[in-house]
Symmetry: C2
Amino acid sequence: MSSITGIAILGATGSVGRQSLEVIQAYPEHFNVVGLAARRSVDTMADLVDRHRPHVVVMEEDGPAEVLRGRLASDGISVQAGQAAVQELVQRPDVDLVVAAVVGRAGLPGVFAALAAGKRVAIANKEPLVMAGELLMAASERYHVELLPIDSEHAALAQLLRGVERESIDQLILTASGGPFLDADLSFVRSATPDDALAHPTWNMGAKISVDSATMMNKAFEVIEARWLFDLSQERIQVLVHPESRVHAAVKLLDGSWLAQLGPADMRIPIAQALAHPRILDLTRRLKDARSLDLCELGKLSFRDVDEGRFPALALGRQALEAGRGRPAALCVADEVLVQAFLDGRIGFGEISEGLDEVMQEFIERDIQDLDDILLAGEDGERLAASKVEG
Amino acid sequence: MSSITGIAILGATGSVGRQSLEVIQAYPEHFNVVGLAARRSVDTMADLVDRHRPHVVVMEEDGPAEVLRGRLASDGISVQAGQAAVQELVQRPDVDLVVAAVVGRAGLPGVFAALAAGKRVAIANKEPLVMAGELLMAASERYHVELLPIDSEHAALAQLLRGVERESIDQLILTASGGPFLDADLSFVRSATPDDALAHPTWNMGAKISVDSATMMNKAFEVIEARWLFDLSQERIQVLVHPESRVHAAVKLLDGSWLAQLGPADMRIPIAQALAHPRILDLTRRLKDARSLDLCELGKLSFRDVDEGRFPALALGRQALEAGRGRPAALCVADEVLVQAFLDGRIGFGEISEGLDEVMQEFIERDIQDLDDILLAGEDGERLAASKVEG
């Protein structure tokens, strides 16, 4: 990397956004923050602006933008609002790479805009690839830009596949911690509370993704992401339960050998791999709290097959991927609705997977030509899931 | 690989030689056996010639060559004898790659001859790199030919490093099963019998290497091999005890991530990786008894640091590597002598490492300019070790 990479972060105030900025700040010789976009956290954004001095800031709505503008009055930093301003940001000639870390469907237009502008995209949240993976990969090919995964399992796979020829791959393996209900009594699981479901054993994550981890819907989504990112059919993407969560992914090769990627539960590793791609940065030397793994401290690593009866979400995800025609988008949004209802105490834990199953049964497939079709399929999923919650 | 690789195997009747032929036979579209060389196993060689139809066969001595010539009378296969015939074989224009699988010092001249003839060398036994690693790497550079490791740990490292940039490496990790005495009472170990030492927990190997595994001298040798093959200082090459022997090697990167290579205990995997380099062959489809690994069947993988008090050979090897000047060659040959004396019941198990320590204390360092200097240092080690056995 001889020149400096100009970076725009969409979703800058979230966890991935802030950790991206930490990596960027540690490598001023490699990176430059051009712009930051966020929904509405004015305080956090003001703080980030202070520390990272972007040229442009975009807030989702006018109100927060106005407040922020007032606070940065004498700073000469342009504060904008709205989706059009996000599009302008990613199109700037001094932006080389866009970190897409906006939660939910809201992040999709930004990703497509960045690809269409010919910018590399480091993609952190699952929705874009789950909902619109085929369209995204087509766009990435059409505009000759790389789509770099930040999700830890996919970043691990991308790292493993650097030295692997396609035709030597037998299977890709995604590991799953198994979540808090891996060995719990099934009758307890059905009626588990949000507190039970949020007790994730290894990663400290947001509520939505912790619940997805408990149902293993997050692993279903990761199978879908991997299918598109690495262009392999879903039967060749396996999920193994690995309660210690140290092996993030593995590649099984046709000669009988396996390659595995291990690491601590530190998102800055996949973030840095995406930002600096193809370079590996010396995070353990630059970031004072970055640690490598101590294999000896771990004691042991274990692996087992997924009990698909206990985790029906996995099969639901595979079926949706196989069928296509808007199903993955509908499943993704329906899951958002049902998990929120569970967190709000409106449905039981067991009803998340049951609700998703029913949504998939009732969903009417669509022709998918563009992002609008995807978003419509997502709305179908939302509506069907909402009716389950109310029903 | 569009063209067919012509192969000569030095040490064809041994285990690596025969397994190489198995791989070659399964891929006639990739490989062609040009020549086979061996010491004196006429029966085995006659059988190999029958199955693999080489153009040339070389036996070490005239007698066995004569017998073989008689048995192959009508076959039109040229049967030669002696080191000059080995040199002629590796220089043949139809030889592209030489498998160097001759046990002990005897294999060194063949390796150097192959490199000097500009042939890729797949190197199976430890002695050449341990005794003459620096000279070998210099020759590989001078003649612009690749030296490909067949030793499973080094083949695993080579596989892992395909996608890794040098400057991102923190450490290379070689795993050790720990051998039969990993947790045995030390007073028992000191007086262990050959039968005790040959009970290797995971790999089924020859007597010499099984004893080297019990003392961990084989791991010391592997550190030396890795130092030369991958051009990293020995402090950056770590050994971890991994009793399950499924992870063969790992690479610790500076960003905190690790890459590990796993596989079943099947030498045909590293052999095929060397023969077909950089291609990975689909052994699990072509060889009917080739199996991949089932991570779930394993139950668990564990790792721990080496107890260097229990395994003093490891430090001896590192010191010899650090000092150079013929020490690694002397250590390597002295080990051969002392292990043989142990197997013959002439010394106790504990006296192997003690004897090596004394040999290193008495060894007088040499200027190393060429292979002859290496062989002289080896003879010093042999003489010093023999005097320990007799004393």
